[in-house]
Symmetry: C2
Subunit: 296 residues, 2 copies
């Protein structure tokens, strides 16, 4: 498999669906729909959607059935970035190479655009004209999984601790909590909910969720490293901000070499979980290896 | 029926369920769960939950089946108040007689507490151990209805226009758009989604939705009037803010007497819709009349 070509095709599939399913830019009030689309179509990697599609296919389901889920995950991820960039949170001016939402639309509309993307994500997950091949019971379970991962016991919990830990001396277990929640939870839920939509058995579901948890944590550790060593031009955001804000990061705690090694171990562990799926999990394998090589 | 006693009992039923179903205050991270509970238990009227329960009962369903829906509506309403009170939006210091969330917890945590309440609302709606008497298909439809009403084509659309219209000269139809969306949409969805959970026929559903639309608009017109004529002590918030901020309100556009008359007509129209339900709709009738008399 050529990973680059695979990722590109999947990104196009997700982008096309997002274009179709999101309220159009001229829907009233246009200001809010412009703001929603501005951040959603700023050129994200679509990692979470692609993981959801691959999760469904790994257990023998159809990617197309997981497409609404895939889109809703990207909407939730994007809302979290918009709110995270607000002056009251990380106060960032640049995201994916463009001015952040509040810089373009003002803070009030940026808060609302985030709220709207989160809400619209759940609307999309309940549209009866989509996912017709998936039983209502499975769909409810997938929504529940996503909601838990995105909520105060998942992503939001991680973000809250991320803010509260700024400039503080923290313990290693708290650092892992922050990373596995603020980023890991939604990444794990992407694979796991995709598996549910694809018709996974309990064993398959748990295995893929474990894969996602390792992958999600590795992803955030690499993110920390990119904030130190990455190129702002490729990343589309400024670097060195974690350090200047006194953020709780892996490199700050373990050093660069050790953090890199930990990310590698996490990816190895993620790959071990995939032994349950000989052939079908190849995309998930390639994605795990790519996490270590990414430059943006 | 003694409306006061009825409302009190229903409030207790909703408050008890919220206490049970919301993450406990000591769940990690406690800061976010404290912030969520601080705003949720600040003494709201629980109008939306009570309407949802009454909507279910009006069509012959059980209140207990609609209790998760009822709680989720209050969580969505509360999140919208937290975000609405932020400095970037209406910049309010006082809500329900207490300092607003960002005054107590800081802006970052207030944004996150709102996000968490919205997310937790959808989690609650998908819990399989609750609403066992309701088919997954009906539950998906109720969630969809709530998500649409709370999103950019509903409540958030209304809030966006509310901000954008500040200090502007606007047309009457835009004023109605703002009011029917920022407040009306979620109130209408409360009754309508309650009816869905209660097993409504299409005709019953549409009738109750129309009732809710009229009621919701009337509620916001009275809100505008209370901002001019109400007592801050009873309201639990400062008054006169609409005028000082140049808000698009009914009294500013139509005058006080005409606005009051319009609210009365809206309530009369709401009551007309209830003719479809001779006896069972008595709570909805009483609530509609109470809207005109409320002082908080």
């Amino acid at each position: 498999m050529n990973l680059r070509a695979y990722l590109k095709l999947r990104r196009q599939m997700v982008d096309g669906a997002l274009q179709r399913w999101l309220p159009a830019e001229n829907e009233f009030p246009p200001e809010i729909h412009r703001a929603m689309r501005y951040s959603l179509f700023a050129g994200g990697k679509r990692l979470r959607p692609i993981l959801a599609l691959a999760g469904a296919e790994t257990v023998g389901g159809k990617a197309v059935d997981a497409l609404p889920l895939a889109c809703s995950l990207e909407m939730i991820h994007t809302y979290s970035l918009i709110h995270d960039d607000l002056p009251a949170m990380d106060d960032d001016d640049l995201r994916r190479g463009q001015p952040t939402s509040h810089k373009v639309f003002g803070e009030g509309l940026a808060v609302l655009a985030g709220d709207a993307l989160l809400t619209e994500a759940f609307y999309l997950l309940t549209r009866t004209d989509l996912m017709t091949g998936v039983s209502p019971r499975r769909r409810l379970r997938a929504i529940r999984l996503v909601a838990r991962a995105a909520g105060s016991l998942g992503m939001i919990g991680g973000q809250a601790m991320d803010i509260l830990a700024e400039g503080q001396k923290i313990e290693g277990h708290l650092l892992e909590y922050i990373h596995s929640h603020k980023t890991g939870a939604l990444i794990a839920a992407s694979v796991a909910a995709g598996a549910i939509i694809g018709g996974a058995s309990e064993r398959e579901f748990k295995t893929l969720r474990s894969y996602g948890e390792k992958l999600g944590l590795a992803f955030q550790v690499i993110d920390d490293l990119l904030d130190i060593r990455g190129e702002p031009r490729k990343l589309g955001k400024s670097t060195g901000k974690d350090r200047s804000r006194g953020k709780a990061t892996y490199p700050a705690f373990f050093g660069i070499t050790d953090s890199r090694r930990q990310a590698e171990v996490l990816v190895e562990e993620a790959l071990l979980h995939l032994r349950l799926f000989p052939g079908q999990a190849n995309p998930l394998r390639e994605i795990a290896k790519y996490i270590l090589k990414r430059t943006n």
